[in-house]
């Protein structure tokens, strides 16, 4: 790939009003310079790293982020106070605990129906699902084949953007039940139970042996 494309890629990302995908960048380059232009999405991704390294070396206030399967310019955290002071966008309220809980269930188990969500949370989730739909963090992707054909919910690109994620697999993995079981306080508790039951069975065996001796 020719070096000129570093600037082309930068210009395309800079001028885009939302996340721009590698495919779109490719389309623009090939649309202008011909289909046989030597450039791949992998190379584009490498350029992003180069550009960001440049910005860092020059101590610039922004970077290109990988968000929702594409690229987007964003200010660095160092200036959050100043930027936030003027921007009404940031005064938006944070998500409630209930919203975060519901989102984490949907994100990990999608597509998922309302009854399944409610079974995990143990509470009615009508209101919270509507709020999340309104905020465009989730959407309805279809209907389940199960009885009553309930609606299926999935997370959106807006969800990825909101949490600064590139892909769903970048989500932190929920701890497996086994892992929670291996938690220190649980191990301690488990050890106690094990010991107790071990003692029980040993006592049983002893009394068994005693019985055997007697007969």
């Amino acid at each position: 790939m020719e070096r000129i494309y570093h600037s082309v890629i930068e210009a395309l990302i800079f001028s885009s009003d939302d996340v721009i995908s590698p495919a779109e960048i490719l389309r623009a380059v090939k649309g202008i310079d011909g289909e046989d232009t030597q450039i791949t999405t992998g190379e584009i991704d490498e350029v992003i790293d180069l550009l960001n390294k440049n910005y860092e070396e020059q101590n610039l206030s922004f970077r290109i982020l990988r968000i929702a399967n594409g690229y987007l310019f964003a200010t660095t955290k160092d200036y959050s106070k100043y930027v936030g002071y003027l921007s009404s966008e940031k005064s938006k309220r944070r998500l409630s605990q209930a919203a975060l809980e519901t989102l984490s269930i949907i994100a990990y188990r999608q597509p998922i129906t309302k009854p399944e969500i409610e079974a995990i949370r143990g509470v009615n989730s009508d209101y919270i699902l509507n709020t999340l739909l309104e905020k465009n963090l989730i959407n309805i992707s279809g209907r389940a084949e199960s009885v009553g054909r309930p609606l299926l919910y999935t997370t959106t690109d807006e969800f990825l953007k909101y949490f600064g994620l590139n892909k769903l697999i970048d989500l932190p993995k929920p701890r497996e039940i086994e892992e929670i079981m291996n938690d220190e306080d649980f191990i301690e508790q488990k050890r106690k139970i094990m010991m107790n039951s071990l003692e029980d069975s040993m006592e049983n065996e002893i009394s068994h042996d005693e019985n055997a001796d007697q007969t």
């Binding site: 660095t76 959050s80 143990g122 509470v123």
Partner: protein, 238 residues
């Protein structure tokens, strides 16, 4: 009036997890009797404070009492002959819920991180109204330029298109009459020739409805024609 602040719980599972953590209980060996009591105390407290007790809490209270009763009865046995712990399902639900609750903490952390950065975008807000530069605007402008500009604007103003709506007087009764007359004079009538000369869509539709009425009443009969899109009409049997 006193104001008492209650810890906010997302639901009954959250409350149970709170008890378990606070009292350092073993989640696999929950003392059902004492935790049921605590749970009910909390629900009663909610009632006392005139808080609306959600049905979910009531449901959990009854589930807990059900488990408590089953704990007193001889244990049921599964296919493998192992004793079933009446608490097993509750434990599973608690662990499952705990898992996502933990993940929501991760999400909250990511949320606060993302809030620290601002994405480029929001272009409509970026748009600034350009300050007109009067000097440039007024350079070399003569009266003729103004007149020319005025004429261009006048020419460009298009006339509002006027749509006239004509009312077409056609009734089903009229069309019935029309069809019957045609069939009286000609033995067989092609449907297409019936509507051929009609220009308005509504007239054709009304004629067709009239036709259906006649067929229904048995006053005319319909026969398929060799032409795929056409059919023949003739007098009915009555």
């Amino acid at each position: 009036m006193y104001k008492i602040k209650l810890d906010h719980f997302e639901g009954p599972l959250d409350l149970l997890l709170f008890f378990i953590k606070r009292d350092e209980l073993n989640i696999y060996d929950i003392p059902i009797s004492s935790i049921t009591k605590e749970f009910l105390d909390y629900v009663n407290l909610m009632k006392m404070l005139d808080l609306e007790v959600a049905g979910d809490f009531i449901l959990m209270a009854s589930t807990l009492m059900h488990i408590k009763v089953r704990m007193l009865l001889p244990r049921e046995v599964d296919e493998k002959g192992e004793e079933i712990d009446p608490r097993a399902e509750l434990v599973k639900a608690l662990l499952e819920y705990k898992r996502y609750k933990e993940m929501s903490d991760d999400l909250a952390y990511m949320e606060s991180n993302t809030r620290k950065i601002s994405f480029r975008g929001n272009f409509s807000a970026d748009e600034k109204i350009a300050v007109p530069e009067y000097e440039i605007l007024l350079k070399n402008v003569t009266v003729f330029d103004l007149a020319k500009a005025f004429k261009r604007i006048i020419d460009e103003v298009k006339e509002e298109p006027i749509h006239q709506i004509k009312k077409i007087n056609v009734t089903i009764d009229e069309q019935i009459e029309y069809i019957l007359n045609l069939i009286e004079t000609n033995v067989e009538v092609h449907f297409l020739s019936l509507v051929e000369k009609m220009k308005e869509k509504i007239r054709i539709i009304v004629t067709f409805i009239a036709l259906l009425e006649l067929v229904k009443a048995g006053r005319i009969k319909i026969k398929g024609s060799t032409d795929f899109n056409d059919f023949l009409l003739m007098k009915g049997d009555e």
